[in-house]
């Protein structure tokens, strides 16, 4: 397959940056999208040019490192996958592919396609935890039964990989889906309920501070989320927040 790539190149956080065209040949449908970029980078290195920087690690859709806005959609056109799981057979010979970094004020570009997603870490540091000691002096794991449905919903919320596609897809660059997934995971468990009020207030406050946009309920996040995190979590967070604020 022969392709034209339009890739955002930006030397560093303060540089201006621009789209640069690359032609690439010999791409096989069995390659993953990142392997296609590996091929491009190998060529660039051999020519003595600087390879395109992008974040990645596990390459199996679980670490949440990989990002990329591909032809106007986070993680590309396929649904329920990350960029590292996107395969080149999705594209056709002769296609032009536009590759940009995730864009949000709260996710500043670091270099080329790498953005700084530490805003997510700060949201979690604000209260994305249950205040128990890790000393091991806790009660037996089966002392408190948890309704299977709640345990499953909590798990589903907890499968968020922190990739930021929800922010990237949202016209408002809102981080509601991410934040609500975390709030929900704990709110649904008896262990997490104890601090639920303080948690939701603190996490929403941090989310706002980071400069993410507001939620317009467009639902783009849910459709672009590689893990299918549900909008129900956002409603739950709204509920939890309102409940906590009137108390």
């Amino acid at each position: 397959m022969k392709l034209t790539l339009k890739i955002w190149r930006q030397e560093n956080a303060t540089a201006k940056g621009k789209m640069v065209d690359y032609n690439i040949d010999g791409i096989d449908g069995d390659m993953s999208f990142l392997e296609m970029l590996d091929v491009l980078n190998e060529e660039l290195v051999n020519k003595g040019e600087q390879p395109v920087e992008f974040d990645h690690d596990c390459r199996e859709g679980i670490c949440g490192s990989c990002s990329l806005q591909i032809n106007g959609e986070p993680h590309g056109p396929d649904k329920f996958i990350t960029t590292c799981q996107l395969h080149m057979r999705t594209f056709k010979d002769g296609d032009t592919i536009v590759i940009e970094p995730f864009r949000a004020k709260a996710f500043p570009v670091i270099k080329d396609l790498i953005v700084d997603r530490t805003a997510f870490d700060r949201i979690q540091q604000a209260y994305g935890y249950i205040s128990v000691n890790t000393s091991g002096n806790t009660i037996d794991a089966n002392t408190i039964p948890i309704e299977k449905e709640n345990a499953d919903d909590s798990f589903n919320a907890a499968t968020c990989i922190g990739c930021g596609a929800c922010v990237a897809a949202c016209k408002n660059a809102s981080a509601m889906l991410f934040t609500s997934a975390k709030v929900s995971q704990f709110a649904l468990l008896p262990q997490g309920e104890v601090e639920a009020d303080r948690r939701v207030l603190a996490m929403v406050e941090q989310m706002d501070k980071e400069g993410f946009g507001n939620c317009s309920n467009t639902g783009a996040c849910e459709l672009e989320c590689p893990k299918g995190i549900s909008l129900e979590n956002i409603a739950r967070m709204n509920r939890e927040y309102l409940k906590a604020s009137v108390k």
Binding site: K6, W8, M19, Q69, N71, G72, E73, P77, V98, E100, R103, A104, K105, A106, P108, A169, K171, N172, A173, S174, M176, V204, E205, M207, D208, G211, F212, G213, N214, C215, S216, N217, T218, G219, A220, L223, E224, L231, E232, I234, A235, R236, M237, N238, R239, E240, Y241, L242, S245
Partner: protein, 220 residues
């Protein structure tokens, strides 16, 4: 108020509440207007009641005005914040891949409705105020129907009304069900709620359009 509406979640809650309030008002407004098609007398008497009742004029009307003003100002505030949240825009952004046009363009449909409200005030409310308070005409319980019908002589105005209500429809197609999500309602009833809101969003504006067009053709 600033403190109360500090957070994004609270702002959206207020947005939803004011929107829902407008939805209720719209239903009420529509019911009265509909009578103009069925029975001019009923229309006159209901309008007379609304226009002279102390409760309606002294309490509901100010709330309504506050609601409208609050809603659109907050709409603009949110929009500005939302735009700022993406410092640099995408070269290629395929919004239609994951969201509806209505949901992405609430500010535009809202702005059209706002412009319409301007026209609407100019058409009905301003004359009404002039009539009642400046020129201090004695109350005439039968004047309303005639005033209404007279507005729909002009094809341009009738056209503007029609277009505005199409935008209101677009606004409500997303807005009505969205307000439930903003208030934290998303459960097994949500599918039913969504169907109802879609029905409402289509039927009510269509009804308004019908009324306008009906009077226009009656005037011919």
């Amino acid at each position: 108020m600033g403190g109360l509406l500090k957070s994004s979640v609270a702002k959206k809650f207020a947005m939803a509440l004011s929107g829902l309030f407008l939805v209720l008002f719209l239903a009420q407004h529509f019911t009265i207007n509909l009578t103009s098609v069925i029975s001019p007398d009923t229309f006159n008497s209901w309008s007379h009641f609304m226009g002279t009742n102390i409760l309606v004029q002294g309490i509901l009307q100010p709330i309504l005005i506050f609601g409208v003003v609050f809603h659109f100002i907050m709409g603009f505030v949110l929009e500005i914040q939302n735009r700022n949240a993406r410092a640099k825009s995408y070269v290629s952004y395929n919004g239609s891949a994951n969201s509806s046009w209505m949901s992405r363009n609430m500010i535009y449909s809202g702005a059209v409705v706002l412009a319409f409200l301007g026209l609407h005030f100019y058409d009905f409310w301003v004359p009404e105020l002039v009539h009642k308070y400046i020129e201090s005409h004695p109350e005439d319980a039968t004047r309303y129907y005639g005033e209404l019908v007279a507005k729909f002589v002009s094809p341009v105005r009738t056209g503007l009304y029609v277009v505005s209500f199409v935008f209101l429809m677009l606004h409500l197609l997303h807005g009505f069900s969205s307000s439930f999500q903003s208030m934290g309602v998303n459960n097994k009833y949500s599918e039913g709620i969504r169907k109802f809101t879609v029905g409402y969003a289509i039927i009510i504006p269509l009804g308004f359009i019908f009324i306008a067009v009906f009077h226009y053709f009656n005037n011919l």
